[in-house]
């Protein structure tokens, strides 16, 4: 079940990256978090409520995030972590998550919370959930990890 949900989130990320012109995307294997979530200095966390309770966490390098936000801003150069950059990368995660929860199987209703952005080196995540799976999406500009952390009833 969790793997199927994660595939939807990862597939939506891949589709969005393709739309933004970030090519050579390869969706990764679904693994436990420890082996893949350690790289990347930027996290965007979105809470999931109602039928699925937990979080979806996007982890990527600031370089890849700048490429994504540059594309979202119509090709404007993005070289610094300013408010517009932070807003745009949060909106990227918000749009991906909104599209993904809308694509979940009929009958599963999930709301998302506003995004939380965390920036820093050597970040450690403790999602506080009992079911966690990560998908690593490779791009020509670095990778992006999608972590789905769910509380089972």
């Amino acid at each position: 079940m969790l793997e199927n949900h994660l595939k939807i989130f990862a597939g939506t990320v891949s589709d969005m990256l393709t739309q933004l012109g970030i090519g050579e995307i390869v969706e990764g294997v679904y693994t436990c978090p420890a082996s893949v979530i350690e790289q990347g200095d930027l996290l965007v966390i979105i809470g999931l409520t109602r039928d699925i309770r937990g979080s979806v966490i996007y982890r990527l390098s600031s370089d890849l995030a700048m490429t994504i936000t540059s594309s979202m801003l119509g090709g404007s150069s993005v070289n610094v972590i300013d408010d517009m950059f932070k807003n745009a990368i949060c909106e990227f995660a918000n749009m991906v998550s909104g599209m993904a929860v809308s694509a979940l199987p009929v009958g599963i209703l999930v709301d998302i919370t506003p995004p939380t952005l965390v920036i820093g080196q050597e970040l450690t995540i403790s999602a506080g959930c009992n079911d966690i799976l990560v998908s690593k999406i490779e791009t020509s500009l670095g990778h992006l990890s999608v972590c789905l952390a769910i509380n089972k009833e």
């Binding site: 517009m84 807003n87 909106e91 909104g98 919370t113």
Partner: protein, 122 residues
Amino acid sequence: MKVMIVDDSQFIHMAVKSALVPAGYEICGTFNNGAEAVEAYANLKPDLLIMDVTMPVMDGITAARKILSDFPDAKIMMLTAMGREDLVLEAKEIGIKAYKTKPFKANELIAVVDGLFLSCKN
């Protein structure tokens, strides 16, 4: 035509402005959550309110209910990443005139807004 934008993302404020201003629309105010929208609506009386669903403090559906209870003719369009069918239905039931999912292209947004004003005129 005066348009008010309500979204917790400054990026969306900018994207909507960039799409609508060249098409001849005036942005009369930008706000970050539903509570701010409810407070500002009476003063600004926009021709169209474009609002997100998921926002801190007060979500867009709750804000739309409050605004429509005081101003039943208010034109409200939801602009959200959430394309869930139940949300679209709920929005229609409370009197929201249009629903557009993110991400959007400028020409798509203009088409929905133009269509909304056209349908209300007819």
